[in-house]
Each structure stands twice: as structure tokens, then as C-alpha cells.
Amino acid sequence: MEKTKTLNAEKVKETLLNYALYIILVVMLLVVVCIEPRFISLRNITNILSQASTRGIIALGVAGIIIIGGTDLSAGRILGCCAAISASLLQSVDYASRYYPQITEPLPLIVPLLITIAVAVIFCLFNGFGVAFLHMHAFIVSLGTQLIAYGSCCIYIENQANGAQPLSTLDERYKDIVKGSLEIGSVEIPYLIFYFLLCAVVVYIIWNHTVLGKNMYAIGGNIEAATVSGINIKLNIMLIFLIAGICYGIASFLEAARIGSVTTNVGLNYEFDAISGCVIGGVSWSGGIGTVPGVILGVILLQTINYSLTFLDVNPYLQYIIKGFLIVLAVAIDVRKYLAKK
């Protein structure tokens, strides 16, 4: 093999292009730090991390679906619906206009958590059924599911004695367990970060150490090869959606308490942040590629950009534009990497 200079130049160009996104993000952060050195503070970092937590848990669910070659547009609305359920079940029993006046004794926290997860799982299995058995593209199924979830959420919230009120005044135990933090010396680490980490570890083990995980990569990478190897494609697709459902359920439970007051607007565009995080974190839109650390990094990077733009008081509409360009760039680079060249 001969190595010519032009080849090396091409290689450098390739590498630069492949990592262009990270280079741009790091440059952006450096610019932020230059403009406002106070940005680097422990408080800001824990803020970013705890904000990234619920979105990160959703992203872990969506990532699996993207790896098998799908996507999920309904994640945000499913979260909204489930958050409403969670909040309604865990309003303070002293609150007069609570959703369920018949609940007079506080429920054990595990009950609402399980109910929330169950509802999210039902929505996701509906998506999974459409993909695995009806051979629809996940994009279309979840587009429909998104509306179904939103409509259900609105009806649920509206169905109160006093009309559509935000579901607030939550149980103190609920708020403590979600919004509390662990004090190590002078550092306060929100529990949320631990929940996120725990979910990440579990998903990491599933992806890397179980048959389901390996099958997931195989289905996304080459469904033909997976089929001839005797993998039950339908079952595995359903299981991936099931995991996504569990992730959404947990995220909903946490998000309701984090916000403290659930309206029909909760969950709007969450899927956008989750999918963006996945793509920035290197989950390939063409399927078969993606890692848990990548997803975590992607979500945190995106949240950092979000946070820093707000921190610098950038016009919120301009923030949308910047984020939009980031997504397009991320996907463009991803597609470029796996393009077959003629």
C-alpha cells in the first residue's frame, strides 16, 4: 500500500468533517465561556445535568427505536399524558380540589409509578405493533399516536370538577423524592441525576450484555442478515418499544414532580430534544449504530447549549433557529458517513 500526500489530506478532511459537529459544539461552549466566564459554576453544571435527566431518560428509550431503524414522534405527548396521570394520583390529600377526591390516604409512591409506566408502555406497544406487525414506518405510526396521546391528555385534564386546571399541589413525599438532592460536603447533587444514571446503566446492560441488545443492533444494521440468522424480528421490535415505554413512564413520573404543575402543554417538543440528543450523540439515523454513553453525551451537550443560550439571554426564537441548524448538521454528517459512493 502506498500512502500519498493527497490521500493523507483527504483523510484529514474526512476526519474533520466527521467530527465537525463536536468541534462546532466545543467552539460554541468556548465562546459562551469567553463572553461569560461565570458560566462555569457548580450550580450551573448541576442545573444542566438535572434538566438533562428526564430528557435523557426519554432519549434512552427513543435511541433504541432509532437503532432498529425507526423513530418516535409521540414520546413527548406520551410523556405529557402520563405526567398528568402521575400528578393526578399524587396530589396532596389536603388539597381540596384534587383530581381524585376519593383518595383520602396518600398512595404508596410505587403505585402511581407503576400505573404511569403501564400507560406509557401501552402507547409504545401500540407503536410497536404498527411497526412490527403492520409494517408501517415508525414515523407515521408515532405521528398518529402523538395525537392520540395529546387528545387523551387533554380529556383527562379537562375531566375535573372545576374544569381544566393545572394538576398541582403535589404530595410532599413525591416532591422530595424527585426534587431532593444529596449533599456531599458543600455540593448538592440532585436525585434526578442519580435516576438518570441508574436508567442509563440498566439500558447500557440491556444493549451490551443481553441477547435483546445484540439483536437490536443486528435488526437495525442488516435486517436481512438478522432474519436468516433466525432472529424473531417481530418479538424483538416489540421488546424495544416496551423498553422505550418503561423509559417514558419513568421520565413522566419524574417530570411531573420536577415541574410541579402539569398542564396539557407538558411534553411539547420533548421528543424533539430526545431525538436531537440521540443524533448528536452519534445514534445513526440509518440504524444499527449508537451507544449509551453517546446518547448521554448528546443529551447533555444539547442541554448545555440550551442552558447557555438562555444564560446569555439569547432571543428564544433565535435559540430555535440555532438548535434547528444543529440537528440538520448532525444528520448531514451522519448520512455522509455511511453514504455508498459511486
Binding site: V211, G221, V228, S229, S284, K342
Partner: protein, 499 residues
């Protein structure tokens, strides 16, 4: 050497609509031997293998594995019985590691139920050591070369305790030293008592590695011989030894001046054509022959501009043209009839009208809109002059027969008024009667003074309709034969020149 058979296929027949793909074919593979399967493209080798693996249902015949009658329902089923195949197109999950690809669908598990990566690694390593494969089981398979990926596929077969291994054109993209490594592995497996079916076009290799050689032609079994009794010449004679029937229309075209000169054309991304130069005349039908993988399609695509070229020049009517996209090619008077009609030719749910006018759609613009009248007129021209049998212009093209679909596509390209027509396998999957009509069309086009290039895997077809035949071999142009001197044997000799 033992005489017991690991595989006995006898009386295998398979009929497709319009074609008898296999007719009473037999193949008997002895234990611990390499049995080569030879034949031209379309002789029925792959159909026979597909019948073995249950991808096709055979119409008649019996398959016995180690004396017991078997009927596989698919590759996975065959694998479980120790029968595996390494395809020319490797079916692997490129994003994942070597060992994951080997154990896909049957990962070993730990007591906890998680995947036992350690066992997977050790088992893979053990097989690799046995076969003397050096790759790291944890490496991503997409990073390996084609030959290494092939070795992995063979290792996968070994991991299923294979009794019978089918290798389909394993060396078509390998360099010499890689072939040596592959042969070492094949010999090792043979010594272990594995029966190996070796499908290849490379006759020297066949003679080097095989114990037995079975030759097929036109879906028939021709002979099975000991390799030591054969020579390449004998094999070629048996492969092509058929008489020509009156399957072609009389030639009416007369080649004139040069219309296109291709000079030192080399594709940008390999595999592609390498340093190909030739002239095409007005009114000439230039055939392009070659084996599978000889990059005939790539040559056409590179000329047409849908594949990039690294170097070289194309001169049309004395002017240098640079086709960077298909739009350029159309402007410069080129038309390309693609090989995979279903995948890249027809718009299946579109009407005859849509399929006829789509390549020429700009010329129907009347202001912002399209002129329906003109489109209908042109579609009628396609239907009439190509003799398309269709109930109406509105009929969906997918409901027509393959031959009629192809006529619409040819008509589509003629509407763009091309000077140079590039046709890739224009008669593939078309029955004999329709083929004759396509040949007539090609003939008439040439007679009108157009330059026509026809890629075909069927040598008799090229010999029947062409004025000259360009033979590709492994990306290189092996030579151009005038039709007066061309024979199947000569084409074959050129086709294997660079492999």
C-alpha cells in the same frame, strides 16, 4: 479418499414462468472433497443452490444429506443441519463485531441470562486458531477487507459444525495472496472431512483446488469429471458447447463514423472500470461481455455519469463531454437502460404514460404546466412503435409482462432522442419471443444511426446481435472482438484474462 457422499442431489428440476431453469440436474459431493460447479452465467448454478437451501421450491428431484432425504425450508434450517453457504454478496451486520456476526441468532448466555461475551470470544478465537485466521474477534466487521469478511463467514459455517460448505465465487474480489490463504482454509476443511461445493468462473483455480468438477449448461447437467482429467480448454468447450438456433433477427445496421470515443476511463470509487478505451460508431451495436463482477455495469454508469470517474475522457462527435450527472448525460445525448428493471427502471404503480414521458418531462412544459396532448401523443408513439401490448395508456406498468415493461422503458429513452444508447441486460427475465422483439428494436435503432452498447451475460445473445464485442475482465478491458472472429471460447478466454 472415501467414496461416501455427503450430498446427493438427483433429478432436480425447476420451472419458472417461461423458462425451465433446471432440468433433471444431478450433483453428488463426496465427503472430504472439493467439488466445483461450472457453467456460464445463467446456466443454473445459483438456482440449483437455491433449491438446495430451500429458497426456491424444487419442482422435482431428491436431495440427500449423508444418505438421508432432506428438504430445507431456508438457509437457517440448512445451517442447523450443517449445510452452509458463503455468498458472493456477504450478508453481514457491518456495524457489529466479528464474533457477534458469527453467533447472531444463537448467542451463548451466562447463568444470569446476559450474553456470555467471554464464551463467544473464546469460541470464536478457537475456530480462528484452528483455521489460522488472524483477525481479532472483537473487531468491527465493517473494517475488514472483503477477503477477511469471507473468512469470517467460513468460520461461521465451521461454528455450525458444517458438513457441507458452498462457496459462491469466493475469489472474485480477492488478491492472489488472499486466494492462497483461502485455499489453505479450504484444504484444512477438506482434510477434516467437510464436503465443499466451489462455484467459480476462474478455471485455473478450479483445476487447482477441486477433486471433482460438475459442468452445467442451460439448466442441464452436462458432466461430472475428476479434476485431473480436465483442462481449462475442455471445461470451456463443455460450458459453451451449444448450437445456435435462429433466435436473432437478420442484421440491417451498417456501422458508420465514430460517434463516441472513450479514452482511459477509470472510475472514482473501486470496484469500477480501470483504464478503458474504445470507440463506438454510428449505427453500431457494441456488445459488452464479461463475467459477474467484471464491472460491465460500472463501465456504463461511469460513461453515463451516475458513477464518478477519476480520470479519462469521453468524446462525442469530436467534442469532449463531461457527464457529471444524469441530466448532463441526457443533454449530451446519452440514454441508460438500467440492469435491474424493477429496482431502477420502472415506476411500478405509475401508468404507461407516466413511465413513458418521465425522462423527457421537460419537453412537455407549456408555461407552468405540462401539455397532456403532447404527452399522450408521445405515449401512443411508444406503444405503437415498440409494439407494447397494453389495454390503455392508463394501465399501471407493473401489470404488464416483463418484455412489455422493457419496451416501454426503451421507448421512454427514445423519446429523449438519444444518439448513444447504453443498455444493461436489456433482455434479462424476458421470455424468448419478447427477446426477439427487443433484438429487432435494438437492430432498428442502430440502423437509424444511433450508437448502441449492450451489456449482456448471455454470450449467444451478444454473438447474435452485435457488430463487435468488448470483453471486460475484472475492471479492465481485455479486448474487443469483431463479430466475424468472435466465438464463445474466445470471449471466455478474454473474460478470464485479468481474474
Amino acid at each position: 479418499m472415501t467414496n461416501s457422499y455427503v450430498l446427493e442431489m438427483s433429478g432436480i428440476s425447476k420451472q419458472f414462468p417461461g423458462v425451465k431453469a433446471l432440468d433433471d440436474v444431478q450433483l453428488k459431493v463426496r465427503k472430504g472433497t472439493v467439488h466445483s460447479l461450472c457453467g456460464e452465467n445463467g446456466a443454473g448454478k445459483s438456482t440449483l443452490m437455491k433449491c438446495l437451501f430451500g429458497i426456491y421450491n424444487k419442482d422435482a428431484g431428491e436431495i440427500k444429506l449423508e444418505g438421508e432425504s432432506v428438504n430445507f425450508t431456508g438457509p437457517k434450517h440448512a445451517l442447523e443441519h450443517g449445510v452452509s453457504m458463503v455468498h458472493q454478496e456477504l450478508n453481514q451486520v457491518l456495524q457489529r463485531s466479528i464474533m457477534e456476526n458469527i453467533w447472531l441468532g444463537r448467542f451463548p448466555r451466562t447463568k444470569l441470562g446476559t450474553v456470555d461475551t467471554k464464551k463467544m470470544y473464546n469460541d470464536t478465537k478457537a475456530i480462528f486458531d484452528e483455521l489460522e485466521i488472524k483477525a481479532d474477534p472483537k473487531a468491527r466487521i465493517g473494517k475488514l477487507s472483503v477477503s477477511e469478511r469471507q473468512m469470517v463467514e467460513i468460520a461461521k459455517a465451521v461454528s455450525y459444525n458444517t458438513k457441507l460448505l458452498v462457496l459462491d465465487e469466493p475469489t472474485s474480489s480477492l488478491a492472489n495472496e488472499e486466494v492462497a490463504q483461502l485455499f489453505k482454509i479450504i484444504n484444512k476443511l477438506r482434510d477434516d472431512g467437510v464436503g465443499i461445493i466451489y462455484i467459480s468462473h476462474k478455471l485455473e483455480e478450479i483445476l487447482e483446488i477441486s477433486d471433482d468438477v460438475t459442468i452445467m449448461r442451460d439448466g442441464h447437467w452436462i458432466s461430472t469429471n475428476k479434476a485431473e482429467d480436465l483442462t481449462t480448454q475442455k471445461i470451456i468447450n463443455m460450458m459453451v458447447g451449444r448450437t445456435m438456433e435462429n433466435r436473432f433477427p437478420p442484421k440491417t445496421n451498417k456501422p458508420g463514423d465514430v460517434i463516441m470515443s472513450v479514452k482511459n476511463l477509470t472510475g472514482m470509487y473501486m470496484p469500477s472500470c480501470i483504464d478503458v478505451s474504445f470507440d463506438l460508431r454510428k449505427g453500431e451495436i457494441l456488445g459488452v461481455a464479461g463475467l459477474v463482477g467484471s464491472r460491465r455495469t460500472e463501465l456504463l454508469e461511469t460513461i453515463f455519469g451516475t458513477a464518478h470517474h477519476r480520470s479519462g475522457e469521453i468524446i462525442v462527435n469530436g467534442k469532449s463531454v463531461n457527464n457529471k450527472t444524469s441530466q448532463d448525460a441526457l443533454k449530451n445525448g446519452f440514454a441508460l437502460l438500467t440492469e435491474e428493471r424493477r429496482a431502477t427502471g420502472i415506476f411500478g404503480v405509475g401508468s404507461i404514460l407516466f413511465n413513458s414521458v418521465i425522462a423527457n418531462i421537460r419537453s412537455y412544459k407549456r408555461g407552468l404546466f405540462l401539455s397532456n396532448k403532447k404527452m399522450k401523443g408521445d405515449t401512443q408513439w411508444v406503444i405503437d412503435s415498440m409494439h407494447v401490448k397494453t389495454p390503455s395508456q392508463k394501465t399501471k406498468i407493473k401489470s404488464l409482462s416483463g418484455g412489455n415493461q422493457q419496451k416501454v422503458i426503451i421507448g421512454r429513452w427514445l423519446l429523449t432522442k438519444p444518439d448513444i444508447l447504453l443498455m444493461d441486460e436489456p433482455t434479462r427475465g424476458i421470455d424468448v419471443g419478447a427477446k426477439y422483439e427487443i433484438y429487432e428494436l435494438i437492430n432498428n435503432l442502430a440502423a437509424e444511426g444511433k450508437g448502441v452498447m449492450v451489456v449482456s451475460s448471455e454470450m449467444p445473445e451478444l454473438l447474435g446481435i452485435c457488430d463487435r464485442i468488448l470483453v471486460m475482465s475484472n475492471g479492465h478491458m481485455a479486448g474487443i472482438l469483431d463479430i466475424k472472429d468472435a466465438t464463445q471460447e474466445k470471449i471466455m478466454e478474454l473474460a478470464v484474462k485479468y481474474v
